[in-house]
């Protein structure tokens, strides 16, 4: 990865990003040795395709966590905006307008979350927990438990098509990751998000509009949910009100494994990409090994706990090293 892409904020965390890449490669070799089915090109592309929507959401979540926030509502938001848009498209709405509506809803609801956190001072965990429950309820009310399926081909291409053999979801997720890395490391928005996470009051005194930054960060998260949701529903050509349940755990885990500090202020989009690929690879390996879904959930939970512990140890070491 070039120096210009990694940028100044990530330079310090380059080693960690590379370290994680090495872990991903070693695990891939290990899984391939255990089960040759894992090493096929088809399966590896399948892993990346499965990882694509998690990557996109995790890129958005990197901004949220770097700004010292958290968003538990991403799975519910994905459910609501996909069931509403899907049904409207099925009822004759132009697919492009339907997609635009998804992004509009994602961005607006995300901004509303940011508003609750910045202006009403509701802690991010509580605000997004409340929104998570409310949006899931709205999705269930709207769809009345129905499964929606049968999108026009122009849309299913997004989730199922390929360009020179590379699945479109993989291409979209990689392009979005590059965009996210640029935004995080090279723009005022990324710098302000990190500054708010590093020290909100100092950022305010320096002239950063901290409330606006928080609203924009959560709005960007909502837009990421819309893009991830679009890929997800066009890939499986269906949606329902329960889609995206527990998705937040997977997304947050990818960000933390990637090296973004839970205390805010620093992170790396490249690490997030590697974290999301690592998690999808492990899930895939467990499926191939025939491990029961409920055991997969258990293992996922343990991975999250280990990642958070490592994160805490690293940040404490960081603080111990600091000089007054």
């Amino acid at each position: 990865m070039s120096d210009s892409l990694i940028g100044n904020a990530d330079r310090k965390w380059l080693f960690q990003g590379l370290g994680l890449t090495i872990v991903v490669i070693i695990l891939a070799i290990l899984f391939s040795l255990i089960n040759p089915k894992f090493a096929t090109i088809t399966n590896l592309l399948n892993v990346l395709t499965q990882a694509s929507y998690y990557i996109i959401l995790a890129v958005g979540m990197t901004f949220v966590i770097a700004a010292a926030g958290i968003d538990l509502s991403v799975g519910s938001l994905l459910a609501l905006i996909t069931v509403v848009s899907f049904e409207l498209i099925k009822n004759g709405l132009d697919p492009i307008l339907g997609v635009l509506l998804m992004f509009l809803m994602g961005g607006t609801l995300g901004a509303f979350t940011g508003y609750l956190i910045s202006y009403i001072n509701i802690p991010p965990f509580i605000a997004t927990l409340g929104i998570m429950v409310s949006l899931r309820g709205l999705a269930l009310v709207h769809s009345a438990g129905k499964m929606h399926y049968g999108l026009p081909e122009s849309l299913t291409w997004i989730g199922q098509g390929d360009i020179i053999g590379i699945p479109v979801p993989v291409l979209i997720s990689l392009i979005f990751t590059l965009f996210g890395a640029w935004l995080f490391n090279k723009t005022k928005f990324g710098l302000h998000a990190r500054s708010v996470g590093g020290n909100r009051e100092a950022a305010r005194l320096a002239g950063v509009n901290v409330n606006l930054v928080e609203i924009l960060v959560y709005s960007f998260m909502g837009l990421s949910v819309a893009l991830g949701g679009l890929i997800m529903i066009t890939r499986i050509d269906s949606t329902q009100a329960t889609i995206g349940t527990s998705m937040e755990i997977h997304v947050i885990a990818a960000v933390i494994i990637g090296g973004t500090s839970l205390f805010g202020g620093k992170g790396t989009v490249y690490g997030t990409l590697m974290g999301a690929i690592l998690l999808s690879m492990m899930t895939n390996a467990l499926v191939i090994a025939g491990v029961d879904y409920f055991w997969q959930l258990f293992i996922m939970g343990i991975i999250v706990l280990i990642a958070v512990t490592i994160n805490n140890i690293r940040d404490k070491r960081f603080l111990f090293n600091s000089k007054p």
Binding site: G7, R194, G198, N199, L205, F318
Partner: protein, 247 residues
């Protein structure tokens, strides 16, 4: 020396308690004025009114002959007043240029459309600024949490200088610094004077006060009791004024 800021009859109360009372003082261009007094003398309240952190109840402030109302730190900054907070206001996780330029970042256009931070220019300007004040930092790309107290202090000062401030207010600038680092900050303050920047220092360290100041203002019980030329007074006189007032 020309006057930069004049305050007249500045009064501020908290409930029934008069924190400062009828303060009249002039700060001249390019001078170092130290504000001394016991705890509770009103020093912090006074500088807060100059830094735009709070409005006085009465009195008025003139900057370069113009009556002004310093209702916010932004407004004070607009008139060229910068404040070095005791916590320094730095963000530990950001590097040096990011801290120096935070809130006033330099940008360039990518593909002629997209604004992007101009890190190269920010690094160069930070380096130039630090060189100008003979400040040496090993690595600009390090997060500031890894720097020493003195280095952090100089970064915070650099940030103010970048804003082209005309008056820097410093609250105990040498507190918690070692001898070597403290002397570097002292040099930096003297350098600011040579650049015609006025400096208002609150300090309990009379050695530093005498080493740096052109004038010393003594406060007691919310009142400004005397302003003395540093050359024409002694440490004993200042201690006496701080302890017993004019009596």
């Amino acid at each position: 020396m020309q006057s930069f800021i004049k305050v007249e009859n500045l009064t501020k109360s908290y409930g029934g308690l008069k924190a400062i009372e009828e303060i009249t003082l002039e700060i001249r261009k390019g001078e170092i004025l130290s504000l001394v007094g016991d705890n509770g003398a009103g020093k912090s309240t006074f500088v807060k009114t100059l830094a735009g952190a709070q409005l006085p109840d009465s009195g008025h402030i003139e900057i370069d002959g113009e009556a002004v109302r310093l209702e916010s730190p932004k407004k004070a900054e607009f008139y060229g007043i910068g404040c070095l907070h005791q916590g320094l206001g730095l963000i530990d996780t950001l590097n040096v240029p990011e801290n120096v330029f935070l809130g006033r970042e330099l940008q360039k256009k990518v593909l002629g459309i997209f604004p992007q931070l101009d890190y190269q220019k920010m690094r160069t300007e930070t380096r130039d600024l630090l060189n100008q004040f003979s400040i040496k930092l090993p690595k600009l790309n390090d997060a500031v949490v890894n720097l020493s107290g003195g280095q952090r202090q100089t970064i915070a000062i650099s940030r103010l200088l970048l804003q082209k401030v005309k008056l820097v207010i410093m609250d105990e600038p040498m507190a918690a610094l070692g001898v070597e680092e403290g002397s570097k900050v002292l040099n930096l303050i003297e350098k600011m004077r040579s650049e015609s920047v006025s400096v208002l220092i609150i300090s309990h360290n009379l050695e530093h006060v005498f080493k740096l100041s052109d004038r010393i203002a003594v406060m007691k019980n919310g009142k400004l009791i005397k302003v003395l030329e540093a050359q024409n007074t002694s440490r004993e006189e200042i201690v006496k004024l701080i302890t017993f007032g004019l009596s």
